[in-house]
């Protein structure tokens, strides 16, 4: 590893490490109601909603509020996309989306997946981007944070019946966290060159005399929240690889920090809210271990370049550059790819489809493990908590007590719910993926022959079920079949998980807290971190190892043997 590559990675890690504790503490304050600089706006919103901010909801009502709010958001976005040709701010004259693409896109943004079956600058009007996608970028992220906070309360509370008020949590998340940070990030991005205008596409005559239409739009404002909210749906088709969306190494660094800062901070918010910061750091550390391991493998794989090009007179010292941008090089592409797949952020600054097989394998596995390595805003934390419940249950017995986490007994009900939540990943990825691997209507979407084709199928369904949103973009996802099935996978992945975790939180909230003693299962410290990492790798890995063997692993070995497909 060259010193400059190492320094870039260290700088990024240092920024996250510096920001996470600060953000973590701040977010805890926000959700404990101790931040109030926008209190008048808050009060106005609650009044309009007819909500009593002090009235809390049981887990069932909280879930109901989440679902109804997201359903409303879906209906609005779906309608906008179908009628964008009648709506304002459409200088490029975009037509209405087909129903299946509109369905897929609406589901994708409401579920914080931000899968791009659409093609940004070539399908959406400015109005759709702003009033449709940007709004969902905010509120789907705020939904995730709200759910994570409600679940945290469930774990922290003692013999309680309620988890908080969704309207309040969502409003606070937007007003105090996402909106202020978005304004800062958007301005910084404009400074680096990201457009922010409502002008028509620019018609340029190039130096050699050709015509070049330069797509424009209110990009910076959308990109800021797309990263902060771990959404990832690009303003432009190629997302953050686009020079307008991510023009410089500085804009790249800002966006990467924006992607991981809130998820990493939330792990520590958790520690604050359960009243034991060490618990937050343990989760943070487990995430960090997995992150660094994935980063090391991917970096190594990408720096190897493509051995199949070895016979050509090509200098591959720069690594595998197909699908990567010059200004980012391998190191920033890899750092980005590992961060985004870890964090449920669908944005890309290089094409994952063209990564080496092992590099692609890490990205795929990051998603398949449930995006719990920092993870989507909120979603990563509660996804990780599911693994915590599981790890505590399996290994907790080994200290000679029935399993308990932070003094709460993990019993049949919690295990049942955890298992139900856990099932969504294999069903969505392996079940739906198996269909897509044999149905002729789905097979037409596959671009590459050989094992890489299977990787494309897997990546699509992993990304959808995991609500990541990035793609092996060679996979032709904009077909009615794929739009519908991937949309369903997103719904399954998002709400099966949320419902299960909220139910677990509701059940934990009602329990007593056994005070910790020398005999209680220690859930902080290196031993637990190791246990958690092991559980994630073994339980997650065991589920997907066979099919990964047929996809990326087979491709890697074929590549080494010089086979091309």
């Amino acid at each position: 590893m060259s010193p400059t590559d190492l320094l870039q990675i260290l700088l990024f890690l240092a920024l996250i490490l510096a920001l996470a504790p600060f953000l973590g503490a701040y977010m805890a304050k926000v959700f404990e109601g101790r931040v109030a600089f926008l209190a008048p706006a808050e009060r106005a919103i609650y009044a309009a909603c007819g909500t009593d901010a002090s009235e809390e909801q049981s887990w069932g009502r909280y879930l109901g509020a989440v679902l109804l709010f997201n359903l409303t958001g879906f209906a609005l976005l779906f309608t906008l996309l179908l009628t964008q040709h009648w709506l304002p701010w459409n200088p490029a004259g975009m037509t209405a989306l087909d129903w299946d693409l509109a369905f897929n896109t609406a589901v994708s943004f409401v579920t914080n997946t931000n899968w791009q079956a659409y093609g940004g600058e070539s399908t959406l009007s400015y109005f759709s981007q702003m009033a449709g996608l940007t709004v969902q970028n905010f509120v789907s992220a705020a939904t995730g944070i709200a759910v994570a906070v409600a679940i945290t309360r469930g774990i922290a509370r003692r013999q309680a019946r309620t988890l908080g008020n969704f309207t309040v949590d969502l409003t606070r998340g937007v007003l105090y966290i996402l909106l202020p940070l978005s304004i800062l990030v958007a301005l910084a991005l404009v400074w680096q060159g990201v457009p922010q205008n409502l002008a028509a596409y620019v018609d340029a005559s190039t130096v050699e005399g050709a015509q070049q239409i330069l797509a424009q739009g209110p990009a910076a404002s959308q990109i800021a929240i797309k990263q902060l909210g771990t959404n990832g749906g690009g303003f432009f088709s190629v997302n953050s690889a686009h020079p307008y969306e991510n023009p410089t190494p500085i804009s790249n660094l800002i966006q990467m920090v924006a992607i991981l800062a809130i998820p990493a901070g939330l792990a520590l918010t958790y520690g604050h809210m359960v009243g034991d910061k060490r618990q937050g750091w343990a989760i943070f550390a487990a995430m960090g271990v997995l992150f660094l391991a994935g980063l090391a493998v991917t970096y190594w794989a990408e720096m190897q370049g493509n051995p199949l090009l070895a016979s050509l007179p090509v200098d591959q010292a720069a690594g595998n550059m197909e699908g990567k941008e010059t200004r980012f090089g391998v190191v920033n592409s890899v750092l980005w790819a590992v961060s985004t797949t870890a964090a449920s952020n669908g944005s890309v600054n290089a094409m994952h489809d063209s990564f080496t097989p092992l590099g692609g394998l890490v990205l795929l596995l990051n998603i398949q493990l449930g995006e719990i390595i920092y993870g989507g805003v909120g979603a990563g934390l509660y996804g990780m908590l599911l693994f915590v419940v599981l790890a505590v249950f399996i290994a907790g017995l080994m200290v000679g007590r029935t399993p308990e986490y932070l003094g709460k007994k993990i019993e049949a009900r919690e295990v049942k719910l955890a298992v139900l939540g856990m099932l969504s990943m294999p069903v969505g990825i392996l079940g739906f993926g198996a269909l897509a691997a044999v149905l002729p209507v789905a097979l037409a979407s596959v671009q590459d022959a050989g094992p890489h084709g299977l990787s494309e199928i897997l990546y699509a369904y992993s990304s959808a079920t995991g609500n990541n949103g990035s793609a092996f973009a060679g996979y032709g996802a904009d077909t009615p079949y794929q739009n519908v099935m991937l949309g369903l996978a997103m719904i399954l992945g998002r709400y099966a998980f949320i419902a299960a975790m909220l139910a677990i939180a509701g059940s934990l909230a009602a329990k007593k807290i056994a005070p910790p003693s020398a005999g209680s299962f220690p859930t902080h410290g290196p031993l637990f971190v190791g246990l958690l990492v092991g559980t994630i790798l073994i339980v997650g890995g065991l589920t997907f190892f066979p099919v990964l063997a047929l996809g990326p692993v087979a491709e890697h070995l074929a590549m080494l043997a010089g086979t091309r497909f």
Binding site: A65, A131, V202, A210, P249
Partner: protein
Amino acid sequence: MSNLIRPALVLTFVMTLLTGLAYPLAMTGLAQAVFPAQAAGSLIDREGTVIGSSLIAQGFSEPGYFHPRPSLAGEGYDAALSGASNLGVTSGALIEAVGARVAAAGIEGAVPVDLVTASGSGLDPHVSPAAARAQIPRVAQARGLPEQTVRALVQSRTEQRILGFIGEPRVNVLLLNLALDQTKP
């Protein structure tokens, strides 16, 4: 249930106003006031016509110009239809395409990899310094300039890593070619 419906509807409406209209419009106003050039897309104006954006690659095929990286955006360098090959490393099509580009490049010795692989966006405005250097003989010959002059130009147009370690060293092909035109049209 009924008292969950009103908050859902009202919140959706309020958030659309706040984050979907107020926020982007305010940012547009602010951006155009503070960073007008960037907000408008970093366009390059030559004698009243926009000839492109300093951030967006455009096609160059004449031997007297430096060539950008291969593009798969639309028909090539289509700034309203960004795109990539998305081919896997074991793809026969990829190997063939690279082979063809190597042959077409007409460069002696090993070709820098960025010059024969498509970028992620298809609009990558940069090439690596090595890729620029590899093109110097061709450009110098076509323009009838001493290689020395062209090399100096490339040197001066090479952007280094920020603070010595952030990002990759690179050359903006459009800006280099414009400078070239200024040196000797």
